[in-house]
Symmetry: C2
Subunit: 135 residues, 2 copies
DNA sequence: AATTTGTTGTTGCAAAATGCAAGAACCAAA
DNA sequence: TTTGGTTCTTGCATTTTGCAACAACAAATT
């Protein structure tokens, strides 16, 4: 019943978000201003609703996300990044940069071009602007 | 039968190495000087042999790794990184840094401390030293 | 020559995770 | 009281993973 396979930090990280969906939810929050279940569900990769619930539950349990009632709509929940979640930003950016570099079918958009030009600056700027939203 | 879920570079990357094992094999090569099937099999996380074969096959098909007969031992295979595989280094380092930061049970070793102190320098140095081994 | 050792797999079966489709629960607004 | 939006559940089929045993092959050893 051990949670982690080893005490290697890479292994422990993968035990948490090493799957095909978790980082896409994080991406939606960080880069696409999505915050709710229905918005995540609508993303182009078409995650199944039961998987989405499961991942949100895990990410919340891991204190990567925080779930709250929407201030604007009382019958809606919004998910926010914690500092721990925000600290995934460099990982997300590096993965995006690698994916864009090695996939013809992945055209770099504005942010992709900025990353290619000055990755550190993009991380710094995005981190700064997301900082005001963390919980 | 589409290979990728979308044309998002993050999604495309996760379609390739978004699982609990692929990046551990890459870690073994990058940071632990492991190069062969039996060495990967012996790692502390205890990957199953059929999964290992499957992941090595995928990583080779994706041109992240190259499989060759060992020069030193003709009945042995060695796996080497390609440039594409080496370019995963920043991702691996960022994941290691995050994992060490948020897991009590993951003591930072020498490399972990160097990463905390100067991440960019570690990536640069390691990248430089691994460059001579790529195929 | 026969046996052992090292290395790289394969196979069958059980267990777990994922994917899919339908719909339920809940609340708010009309 | 009906409609629509949002979140979540359920049942079932499919796929992936995990586990354990063992097979194939070559080199080294006896």
């Amino acid at each position: 019943m051990e949670k982690f396979r080893s005490d290697c930090p890479i292994s422990c990280s993968l035990d948490v978000f090493g799957d095909k969906w978790s980082l896409l939810i994080i991406r939606d929050i960080m880069l696409r201003d999505k915050v709710s279940y229905s918005e995540f569900l609508g993303s182009e990769e078409k995650i199944a609703s039961n998987i989405l619930v499961n991942r949100l539950t895990v990410l919340e349990a891991e204190k990567i996300l925080v779930k709250e009632v929407s201030p604007a709509n009382k019958s809606k929940f919004v998910y926010s990044l914690t500092q721990k979640g925000l600290d995934l930003l460099p990982i997300v950016i590096e993965i995006m940069d690698w994916g864009a570099k090695y996939n013809e079918n992945c055209p770099r958009k504005e942010i992709g071009k900025k990353i290619k030009k000055d990755k550190a600056a993009v991380i710094k700027e995005l981190s700064q602007s997301l900082k005001s939203k963390i919980r």
